[in-house]
Amino acid sequence: MVEPVLQISNLVKNFGALRATDGVTLDLRPGEIHALIGPNGAGKSTLIHQICGTLRQDSGSIRFAGQDIGSLGVADRARLGLGRTFQVSSIAPDFSGLRNVMLAVQAKQGSSFRFFKPVMRDMSLINTAMAMLERVGLTARARIPAAELSHGERRQLEIAMALALGSKAFLLDEPMAGMGPEGSKSLTRFLDTLRQEAPILLVEHDMDAVFALADRISVLVYGRIIATGTVEEIRRDPTVRTAYLGDHA
């Protein structure tokens, strides 16, 4: 078997008496889209926070790209190649989309302690960033302040930043949220090609997108993974049907 890019083992996180993450074991293999689904309050966000490093697990381990990242901070995990997008898009609103992506490019180069060369005349930085924006289809809107971009465009911008980091895995937190039907469709097509770049852990409520994209699905309920399998296996799983899918399947 191929070594997984991301391997989460027996992860536990308690908030007081509430066990928000209850022995979660999950892996992400090269080239796949692994969808994480579950009802509201199942602990998806808590799990993501632990993977990214904003929350520290109580026990269990997280391995990424061959090393234990369970005790690293957010920035260190990002530098190892964990590319992330947020449920509510997270961008620098005053900067143009271009300068947002340029921030990611300079971070990738590890060159944020340069004080004198103007970035807007740094063609290597600009060209790399523009190439990323082109891949997500934002070229025409590159110079507009990010605050003025539409919801869908901000999502594309976040993905461009994750691409610029040369991410070894993408962690996408509800990318379809708030997108219109057209936006969802084009984003689904885009993610379908993105998996060749790096595997994707996709947290998503939009079942059409999940069923269209996922190689495997894990179902999280009350902090536990109750099932992991292919789309067909999950659709047929009786516990999943009662716990979550209902009439969707």
Partner: protein, 325 residues
Amino acid sequence: MILTRENLINFILAAMLLAVPFAANALGQPFYSTLATRIAILALAATGLNLALGLGGLVSFGHAAFFGIGGYVAGILAAHAFSGDPLLFGLSGSKQMWVIWIVAVIVSGLVGLAIGAISLRTSGVYFIMITLAFAQMVYYFAISWPAYGGEDGLSILVRNQFPGVNTMRPLTFFLICYVVLLLALSLFALIRASRFGTALQAARQNEVRVATVGIQPYRIRLTGFAISAAVTGLAGALFADLNRFVSPSMLSWHMSGELIVLIILGGTGRLFGPLAGAALYVIFEFALGGLTERWQFFLGLILLVVVLFARGGLLGLLAGKAKHG
């Protein structure tokens, strides 16, 4: 440089400030040179704070500490040079401005690094309070240190020297301060446009985003804070030479507040915001202060209007919204 409206306004502001002491000289009114010098030095101090506050979003309520430390460096070095007593490790004092400046920049930068290292672990109101607390510690330290005047402060008997010129001439001293201000503004502009400036401004706008691309916001902010402290410290050294006097009042929280007010009046994060703000402040102080002792009441009203209706300060009114690239 592209001729935008903001650049034009900046140029006019710089030219106006330069014109004042020459006019004062021609009219035989050296007092106005002193006023212009005061504007230049306060603008320099606020330019330092503008790096932390304007670019980094770090509302430091303790920059008087750096301003005062710069002032005391000038005062102490000059006092030792005058008396001939060695200072530390057998090193003597100095009457040379450029020596004083280098020492002021290094000392205030290092103190900024130490204060920042602790303060930047907090944010929001806590950051404001902890920077205030550090500045008050320095203030009370200066008051209770009799060797350098304690509460009474320390006089600089003769203004320190700069090679080749007579610094006692008001116009000459103004020009020195003016050139230092222009250099600091250039540094600000360079940093703002650089990779470091990009990260610093991004950390102000969205800390999580900066961490998510793999940059630690703490290191970026700490570096920015130390540079900011160093520039404000340099201004303090010049301020001491302007008044030929250093006292704990340079370290008091009023001074920290004044620097924040200057920036808000002029335009937070704008290159020439500090200069516009300092000019407004000193003109108010002079014009209103001549009419009433309670001029700060009216300054308060103006500040209220700016905060409520003109968030971008004077430069926001004149040049429109800031552009960030």
